[in-house]
Symmetry: C2
């Protein structure tokens, strides 16, 4: 069966402000040293599994130009523009009806566009196994990550260690982001994996699940699907999408569905969820600093400095984040990385949209 991929690239990447901006969000930035953007790396990574013509990018209209310029080899019609962000369930449904229209049925990988993976060959092998499993049944397959800390920023998946299909375990349940105590208990139990947001299923399987668990969305998706290739396509998409309830695939489908399998992905995954990720991804100096650009450090440790042309002198800093983006500069204590969104709120309230 044909393998397809839906790469979700509609996010705003606010936690990577001020480099990530409303007109150039995180997935289009290069955070590694190779100059490739996150979305380019995502496409590179699945090249051994999927033909370029079978890769779809779901994004919002404002980013269609960025997708085109960063992925010029991608067929234009594979860029699916959501009229408005409605979270992942409608996004995945939109991908599914396009794939159904084009191929009838297919194996569909769903991938975020803004994660980093260190060991591509291990990733490809895991996804390949997931495809095989998804193709020969009606299972929903997901890839989990073995936790190395009680992270409270991710959803978790509880699996049944004694119920296996090849490398995959049966899923007992999807659970939302836990508090710290719960996360510690999950870690200790050895029966939970992080929900990585990567899924594999057949197009027919996920449409069936959407019909069962999100029937209104499913009906709208059907009307969108029927209009594909007609002169009503744009109108139908606009009309139906705006009416969709905003819903994540995790809450809308995975938490309710049966027959889910999970593979534990051990391929150096990082969701690059905040600037702190740079401390993991990039090589640090002897004082634990990750520094790039025109920077002088004195008595500074554990600090991330992403500079540019402007000289940045960091004196006596510890566990800080400093990011220069030309017109804006962030200086943030690492424990407050989550508060970057408060800066954006402040800018929005003051209508200083040029900085968003």
């Amino acid at each position: 069966m044909r393998k397809t991929a839906l790469i979700m690239a509609g996010g705003r990447g606010e936690r990577f402000w001020p480099r990530s901006r409303k007109d150039m969000p995180k997935q289009f930035l290069s955070l590694t040293d190779d100059g490739r953007s996150m979305i380019q790396l995502t496409v590179d990574r699945i090249a051994p599994l999927v033909e370029m013509e079978d890769i779809f990018i779901a994004t919002n209209r404002d980013y269609a130009g960025l997708v085109r310029s960063q992925l010029p080899e991608l067929p234009e019609r594979n860029i699916l523009c959501e009229p408005v962000g409605k979270n992942t369930a409608p996004c995945i449904g939109l991908g599914a009806v396009h794939m159904e229209e084009r191929y009838g049925d297919a194996v569909m990988m769903v991938l975020p566009s803004d994660h980093l993976i260190k060991y591509t060959s291990l990733f490809v092998s895991t996804l390949s196994d997931a495809c095989r499993l998804a193709e020969h049944g009606k299972d929903l397959v997901t890839v989990g990550i073995a936790p190395d800390c009680p992270e409270t920023g991710y959803g978790y998946v509880r699996f049944r260690p004694d119920e296996v299909q090849g490398r995959a375990f049966a899923v007992e349940k999807f659970v939302e982001k836990p508090d710290l105590e719960t996360a510690k208990a999950y870690l200790a139990s050895e029966q939970y994996l992080w929900n990585s947001g990567m899924f594999v299923w057949k197009v027919s399987t996920i449409l069936e699940q959407l019909r069962e668990h999100l029937p209104e969305t499913y009906e709208g998706l059907r009307r969108i699907g029927a209009a594909i290739g007609t002169d009503q396509e744009e109108q139908a998409l606009e009309r139906e999408f705006r009416q969709f309830k905003s819903e994540s695939i995790d809450y809308g489908v995975m938490e309710k569905a049966k027959d889910i399998y999970i593979l534990s992905g051990a391929f150096g995954w990082d969701d690059v969820g905040s600037w702190l990720a740079l401390g993991r991804i990039k090589r640090s100096d002897e004082f634990g600093n990750v520094v790039s650009g025109n920077v002088v450090t004195v008595d500074t440790k554990g600090t991330i400095v992403q500079g540019g042309d402007k000289l940045i002198a960091a004196v006596g800093l510890e566990d800080m984040i400093v990011v220069d983006s030309g017109d804006a500069l962030l200086i943030c204590e690492q424990g407050h990385a989550g508060d970057i969104k408060k800066v954006l709120e402040n800018l929005r309230i003051c209508n200083r949209t040029q900085y968003l």
Copy 2:
């Protein structure tokens, strides 16, 4: 007797990097909200005491243009250019021989160009008293500041509380910068004042003291004085000044001299010794932040941010200093304010002179 002033403006102000630069040092910057530079404020402040034609500025050649442009009403010949910095004793001696050449004798106030004083009228009244005392005798008069903390960055002056002349106390001794324990003992004793670097004496008195305590410098100064107004003036200055031993007036004269009196100046003095001074000089917000420029703060307290056009977002900062100067940015933990010079050392070693 005519009153004159020598304002010493040869310093580099490195502790105010990156705003203070080798071609625009601290004394030429405005750190207050009135837009007047430190040296302009110094001149403004003594206007009630001294005619403009009797104010001399000692500086190095590179800053003569800055002095001229910031003090256009000052006679050109009142700008005394040291060929090379030799600390305060030769600087003061140079002023003295120029004043002697012009006026025979005069009362001479010696003032730093980079201090701030809150209550000008109290300052003028103190200096006026000091002038009266200096004029009617051969005393060296200095102005001290009653310490409000055991500061280790200043020299101290021990006075005799029972030996007074008007508002002035006899000085027992000048002492150099103490360690913290000593400074605490000084504070507890109530017999020490901070050495503010402000002095008042007759020109004839200080020249006599230089002859006694720094005879070689005195001889050279005499040769410089003899050449003033001749075509040998420039040559004599160049030749003699380069041979002077580098010496502070405190160590070279004040620590050795007798007949010194000190007035306690209570006029809101601040030597603006580092960026930390801004926390004292400027109004802070409810979280103890002193912020100017294009700045957004989130969960930030006790922090000084001197921004410019570039947006600076400060998130979760505590007791930091952030200064943007266009081409360079300083981010410094307040306890490390003294380490700014290490940044400059680093820049010098790497020959990045554009940032000095």
